[in-house]
């Protein structure tokens, strides 16, 4: 833990050294550091991994049981009621899809902005995106009253000549998730091809060589390959940015395209995008700290990475705080009774304690990042990132609960009380995510070797 806790470097390193420590400053050193757990697993202690694998496996089983019971008994096993018809299902979906945003943001937006430090973290961030988006995609289906008919959201040819209803934000949502998921898979896989080739070339036994060889699709690393790769990668990145922004804007429209106080706000799309980036970054930080510690990648994922990511989160927390304040101000300024009484309810109603915890997690706690010492303490950044993730989940559930519980007509105002099945599915999905991530780190290089090598050369050129 000590290596995790305070890995401080007092003198500011040169540009290259800031992102890759001297011990990793050769192409082969990078390859060695990253591929070691994959190619020489027997030289590695896997105790922590096995424990994590067992725990997350058990949680995955819990998720399967919870989802099965949901499908058998009906969505009534959740705590939703006649007034609060949405609950954990939708909150989990929004939270997971938010986390799913960050990987693409890191790999594409930062790429386009020439933030080369992203090379050390983009691979597992993209994997995170993939897993989070897949899990997110499950929730809207599980949330349905009749999940077996989820495919009615697609415009498939049918004898009744019925198409989806295109004015519904849920249809936009369906397409947004689907296209994002497909895009993420392609983007992630193509980025992996050069690294699969590296692994193929360094594998000593037959099976990995064959498997990685097949996955590398005949990559030889010729200049022509690299040329096409670069064009492709930049183009995809350019596509990814509007896609990721639109994805979460559409999620925001699920709420904003309505008549309910607290939802029908034009600020929702940008506010959701920032929120998504915020929680995604926080999750990347959590995973970065774990990968770095677990695979001894201190040389490649440096304290400076945590430092910049903390700055991003600080910025995001300020934007979030401003968004909340805008909501309150608009409610007051708009003068609508329903909006005003909703804000009063947020601060004084039944969910007020949760609301204050949420404000602390999302707005107050990250203010610690103003201090360089906190930003450069991996442990502190890790803890605050976890807090942010909790806060962002609370935000998502409160958006639903506050508005729906405090509906227009007072007679139908009811509170939401989650059941055991709500909780098991939430924590089960966390376990499932961990489970998939653990498998990922054992089979696929968790850091993009070719991009880190690229940083080295860029640094050398300077």
């Amino acid at each position: 833990m000590s290596s995790l806790a305070l890995n401080r470097i007092d003198t500011p390193p040169a540009d290259t050294e800031r992102w890759v420590l001297p011990s990793g400053q050769s192409d082969e050193a990078v390859n060695r550091i990253v591929s070691a757990p994959l190619l020489q697993p027997h030289k590695w202690t896997w105790r922590a991994w096995w424990i994590a694998f067992a725990v997350s496996g058990a949680m995955t089983v819990m998720m399967i049981v919870s989802a099965s019971w949901l499908l058998i008994r009906g969505v009534g096993v959740w705590g939703n009621n006649t007034t609060v018809v949405w609950g954990f299902g939708i909150a989990n979906y929004v939270w997971w899809i938010g986390i799913g945003n960050a990987g693409t943001l890191i790999s594409s937006m930062l790429l386009l902005m020439r933030q080369h430090w992203r090379a050390s973290i983009n691979r597992f961030a993209e994997a995170m995106t993939l897993f989070a988006a897949s899990i997110a995609g499950l929730f809207p289906i599980l949330h349905l009253g009749r999940p077996l008919y989820f495919y009615w959201l697609t415009p498939y040819p049918n004898t009744m000549l019925l198409w989806p209803q295109w004015r519904s934000a849920l249809i936009w949502d369906f397409w947004a998730i689907l296209s994002y998921l497909l895009f993420s898979i392609v983007f992630w896989y193509v980025g992996l091809i050069p690294d699969f080739a590296t692994l193929r070339d360094r594998a000593r036994s037959n099976l990995p060589r064959k498997v990685y060889g097949a996955l590398a699709l005949g990559w030889r690393g010729s200049a022509r390959h690299w040329h096409f790769y670069e064009i492709y990668h930049k183009a995809m990145a350019a596509l990814a940015v509007p896609l990721v922004v639109s994805l979460h804007s559409v999620v925001g429209l699920d709420f904003a395209a309505s008549l309910m106080p607290g939802w029908a706000e034009t600020i929702f799309p940008p506010y959701f995008v920032v929120g998504a980036m915020y929680s995604g970054f926080a999750m990347v930080v959590v995973l970065a700290a774990l990968v770095r510690w677990g695979f001894r990648m201190q040389a490649i994922i440096t304290v400076s990475h945590f430092d910049v990511m903390a700055k991003v989160m600080l910025m995001a927390s300020i934007v979030m705080g401003l968004s909340y304040a805008t909501e309150w101000f608009d409610a007051w300024y708009g003068g609508d009774h329903a909006e005003r009484s909703l804000v009063t309810f947020m601060f004084t109603g039944s969910y007020a304690p949760i609301y204050f915890v949420m404000l602390f997690c999302n707005v107050l706690a990250p203010q610690a990042f103003w201090l360089p010492a906190v930003r450069r303490s991996v442990f502190a950044v890790f803890v605050i990132a976890v807090i942010i993730n909790v806060g962002m989940w609370l935000e998502r559930i409160l958006i639903i609960l506050n508005t729906l519980s405090h509906t227009h007509l007072p007679s139908m105002r009811h509170l939401f009380f989650p059941t055991i099945w709500d909780w098991t599915l939430l924590f089960g999905s966390l376990g499932f995510f961990t489970f998939m991530f653990l498998i990922f780190v054992r089979l696929v290089p968790s850091v993009s070797m070719h991009e880190v090598r690229h940083i080295l050369h860029e640094g050398a050129q300077r």
Binding site: N81, V85, G145, L153, S168, L170, I171, A257, T344
Partner: protein, 948 residues
């Protein structure tokens, strides 16, 4: 797969012992079965064996019949589909229905199909036959004959049926020493005694509320549940018509310990200890005489009494004072005197229920029991083991009885301790007759052959008299033969068709009340328990009806149980809160009760309702609520002075459908109340006079001849819930059960919202069905187009397209959509509601919804559809009044109007032009088709600040 060869089969068969005797037995039983199944019905009855010409499958038939409410008749039109009665509606010709219904009438069809109804006689040795009972009874009656019936006792509830009375009379002549005890848990002894005090005979007062301009109710809940509710509600609403003018518009004063439905509709309401109510009456009487009152009252009450008295005096001839059933006889007598001074519009009639005092009957019964004078006891559709007062010593006296039989719908508490239990036919299964509260007689005709091996009360009484196979039909016809005259059959047909027998209403008699001197009451020191019948299950007899159990009580919105209401002042002193379980102790009996704190109650008075805590009601009624009958005495059925409360430290959740949140001043927006003066001056500002809201959508233009709309007059709504249960019956709305209600899940398509002021005082009721918005927020959000608009302006839900995203409900500002969280009607029904008999109640014109789909009010689209089919056959458009929604039909006060906006003469168009017209949440731009008329209030301008 192992297969059985024919050879093996044959071998297996041959091992069955089939000797000659067994073969003959099988043959005989087979013949008997085939005879029984193909037999002609023993009497003329609606369901058919050969299809009659007039009966077309799919077209419901309507028959006039009568249902009983606490023994009084309430005329209804029963709707029968292929021989199954599925719904009842009011009979406009009947004075106790006037075309409307109440919750009990609406729910009666569910009781008919209740799987818990007893299906066969049960003898001392288990299930028996009617023949076995006949044999046992005959032996017993032989004994009784020898001693002129000295050991024979009949116990029943209120009986107004002329045929039954004739039969009982005959029986008592046959057995002169026999006795008939009649008691109702909801007795009217005080009323009766008061009349005897005032007039010397038990005359029943029938106030003509429709003619009144001022009413002072002294604890009289005349708008609450009961046989008079519909008639009183209609008259009350007609006396408060907006166009009546200030002079004629009824003003209602109510003084009572606990808020009642009447109190909730009052212009001036006073919470006062029940003992002190007589002082108000004394003050009024003194004021009318021009004397100074000598009855001490708290300052608030004094002010109330003075204002009411002055108002009554000024409107003499149009002013009525009423006393409630819990008030002592002297007060009733005093009210007769006051009404006489006021020349009040009150008719006096000879009692419709001829039996004497309920209390006396119970005393005599108790006396007989304790002195072992009873040999043969027949309990006719009564449940003394549950609802009789504690003095009766029922449990101790009963086992000693040599012969006891219980006739009833259910194998209930009383049945359990009787030797014999005999299943009674439901009112919808039997021939009978009943009288309404005003004496109007009508025939009860069956809509279906008895579902089980049941008999009617007529048949059992005839059996008692020695008849061998009595037929109710003949017995009833016999009673009316003298009246029908020569052409009896056509008279009979006419009577059955009309549902009333003309000129049977008891004529008003004139009587001059004596002046009774009564002493004012002193301020009481002890706490008092105030009991009342329950608005949902009355005295407990409806406890096993799931619709009624789940029907939210009008004021507290509780379901599936009762609570002990405690005033907020007392709650503070006792340090108890809503949901606390306390022990209620009176004399040596204690009962555990759940507290509900309310602002609308006099300090020192606790209140609860009868009928709960049933032990053997059935799968639905058992265990719901707590039983307060053990606290009751024969002579103190309503008020128990000296009760104490002790906390137990336990708490219990109360399943309510509204009330988790306090109102935040929304009442003026959502349920505006306007006074007559304000109405005359014109109504300004929201929610009135709101102009059209900007919209991006072009106006809907179509040449369809229909645009359906509903207008609900909140001024007329008394909050009785009839619409809610009618909707449930018509639209196959499932019951969800108390656990689901506790999780805030309800299915009622139509709810009645209750609005309160800042202090918790009830401001009025607002029935909320679907608004059928022209710009419906639910429609654009549905991803699969399950929520769509039709050309006639209905917002329709396509159940089989719905995938259950619930986006529609989350975006519905009115929250009128209902989601099937479980298969409430789809194999996951509450308790025994999934059993086959219940399915027979379902309306075949309405889809039964499955799990995971959204549903909601359809404006009874099946009724629109039927009217359209009829109109199209005749090549015309649907006429005004041809479509009547279930809620509209049920409403006693005609608060709900429905019609076609494209028809210029439609009533809804006129209502939409009224000054009081407003849209609920109209500022959202939803353009609802269901709109409202504001509540009208008529406070006394001289009262000072109106308190209600």
């Amino acid at each position: 797969m192992s297969s059985v060869t024919p050879k093996q089969k044959a071998a297996a068969l041959s091992t069955v012992e089939l000797d000659r005797r067994a073969a003959l037995k099988l043959l005989a039983s087979g013949m008997a079965l085939s005879l029984a199944s193909c037999g002609k019905p023993p009497e003329e009855i609606v369901p058919y064996v050969d299809q009659p010409e007039r009966l077309v499958p799919g077209i419901p038939l309507k028959f006039a019949t009568t249902l009983d409410m606490a023994g009084y008749g309430r005329g209804v039109i029963a709707i029968s589909v292929e021989g199954r009665p599925i719904k009842v509606e009011g009979n406009p010709r009947h004075p106790a229905s006037l075309g409307a219904t109440d919750v009990f009438a609406e729910a009666s069809v569910l009781t008919l199909y209740d799987p818990d109804r007893s299906k066969a006689p049960r003898g001392p040795k288990g299930i028996a036959s009617w023949d076995a009972f006949g044999d046992a009874l005959r032996t017993q009656m032989e004994k009784e004959k020898t001693r002129a019936g000295a050991g024979l006792r009949l116990v029943s509830g209120r009986i107004t049926s002329p045929t039954l009375l004739r039969q009982i009379d005959g029986l008592l002549k046959q057995f002169p020493q026999a006795r008939w005890y009649r008691y109702e848990p909801v007795s009217d002894d005080n009323e009766r005694d008061g009349a005897i005090m005032a007039f010397g005979r038990p005359l029943t007062p029938l106030p003509r509320i429709g003619e009144a301009a001022v009413i002072l109710s002294l604890n009289a809940d005349f708008l609450g549940s009961g046989p008079h509710q519909i008639a009183n509600g209609r008259a009350f609403a007609s006396a408060r018509k907006a166009d009546a003018g200030a002079e004629q518009f009824l003003r209602l004063y109510v003084a009572e310990p606990v808020l009642s439905l009447t109190g909730a509709n009052a212009d001036h309401w006073l919470a006062i200890r029940p003992e002190l109510i007589r002082n108000i009456a004394l003050t009024v009487a003194a004021t009318l005489r021009g004397e100074k009152a000598n009855a001490p009252l708290p300052p608030e009450a004094e002010h109330f009494a003075a204002a009411a008295a002055a108002d009554l005096k000024s409107k003499a001839g149009k002013a009525i004072v009423m006393a409630g059933r819990a008030q002592p006889a002297e007060l009733h007598a005093l009210c007769h005197t006051i009404n006489n001074m006021l020349h009040a519009p009150v008719d006096l009639i000879e009692p419709v229920d001829p039996a004497g005092k309920h209390g006396e009957a119970l005393h005599a019964f108790a006396d007989d029991l304790s002195n072992s004078r009873i040999e043969t006891l027949l309990i006719l559709d009564a449940n003394p083991a549950y609802d009789a007062p504690r003095e009766l010593g029922f449990k101790a006296g009963f086992p000693k009885l040599p012969f006891s039989a219980h006739l009833g719908l259910y194998d209930d508490e009383t049945a359990a301790i009787c030797h014999w239990h005999l299943p009674l036919s439901h009112t919808l299964e039997s021939w009978s007759d009943l009288r309404a509260f005003d004496g109007t007689a009508s025939i009860v005709q069956p809509l279906i052959r008895p579902l089980y091996d049941t008999r009617s009360m007529h048949q059992v009484l005839a059996l008692l008299g020695g008849a061998l196979s009595p037929v109710s039909y003949d017995l009833v016809r016999e009673t009316w033969q003298p009246r029908g005259g020569d052409d009896f059959d056509s008279w009979w047909r006419q009577v059955l068709h009309d549902g009333v027998i003309a000129q049977t209403r008891h004529a008003a008699v004139s009587a001059q009340p004596r002046t009774i001197a009564i002493k004012p009451a002193a301020s009481p020191a002890e706490s008092v328990l105030v009991l009342a019948p329950d608005p949902s299950i009355w005295d407990g007899r409806h406890a096993n009806n799931a619709w009624l159990q789940e029907c939210p009580k009008p004021l507290s919105k509780e379901t599936w149980g009762n609570t002990l209401s405690v005033s907020s002042r007392d709650a503070q002193q006792l340090r108890c809160a809503t949901g606390d379980v306390i022990t209620l102790k009176y004399k040596d009996v204690s009962v555990e009760a759940v507290v509900r704190v309310t602002a609308n109650q006099a300090g020192g008075a606790y209140a609860t309702t009868l009928g709960y805590g049933r032990r053997k009601a059935g799968a639905i009624g058992d265990g719901a609520g707590f039983d307060v009958y053990p606290l009751r005495g024969i002579d103190e059925p309503w008020l128990m002075s000296g009760v104490t409360i002790a906390k137990t430290g336990k708490t219990r959740d109360i399943p309510t459908t509204q009330g988790q949140f306090r109102l935040e001043g929304e009442t003026t927006q959502f349920l505006p109340r306007v006074s007559l003066a304000a109405l005359a001056a014109g109504l300004k500002g929201p929610p009135f006079e709101e102009g059209p809201k900007p919209t991006l959508y072009p106006p809907v233009q179509n040449d369809d001849p229909y645009a359906w709309a509903m207008v609900i007059d909140t001024a007329a709504c008394i909050g009785c819930n009839a619409c809610l249960v009618a909707c449930q019956a018509e639209n196959n709305v499932p019951v969800v059960g108390p656990d689901q209600i506790l999780r805030s899940r309800v299915m009622h398509w139509l709810r009645v919202d209750t609005y309160t002021d800042a202090n918790g005082g009830i401001q009025g009721f607002q029935p909320v069905p679907c608004m059928h918005c022209e710009h419906a927020p639910c429609e654009p959000v549905c991803p699969v187009a399950a929520s769509v608009h039709d050309r006639e302006g209905l917002n329709v839900q396509v159940y089989n397209r719905c995938i259950g995203t619930r986006f529609c409900q989350s975006n519905c500002p009115y929250k009128v959509r209902r989601f099937n969280w479980f298969g409430y009607a789809d194999d996951e029904e509450y308790a025994n509601l999934g059993e086959p008999p219940i399915k027979a109640q379902h309306n075949p014109d309405v889809t039964v919804r499955g799990r995971g789909v959204m549903e909601k009010c359809t404006y009874c689209v099946q009724r629109i559809s039927r009217a359209r089919r009829n109109a199209e056959k005749e090549n015309r458009t649907i006429k005004e009044g041809e479509v009547v929604t279930a809620c509209q039909a049920a409403c006693p006060t005609r608060a709900i109007s429905f019609g076609n906006l494209k028809d210029a003469r439609a009533h809804v168009n006129a209502l939409r032009k009224e000054k009081r017209h407003y849209e609920l949440l109209g500022h959202l731009g939803t353009r609802p088709r269901t709109t409202y008329l504001a509540r009208l209030i008529n406070p006394n301008p001289d009262f000072g600040e109106a308190k209600s």
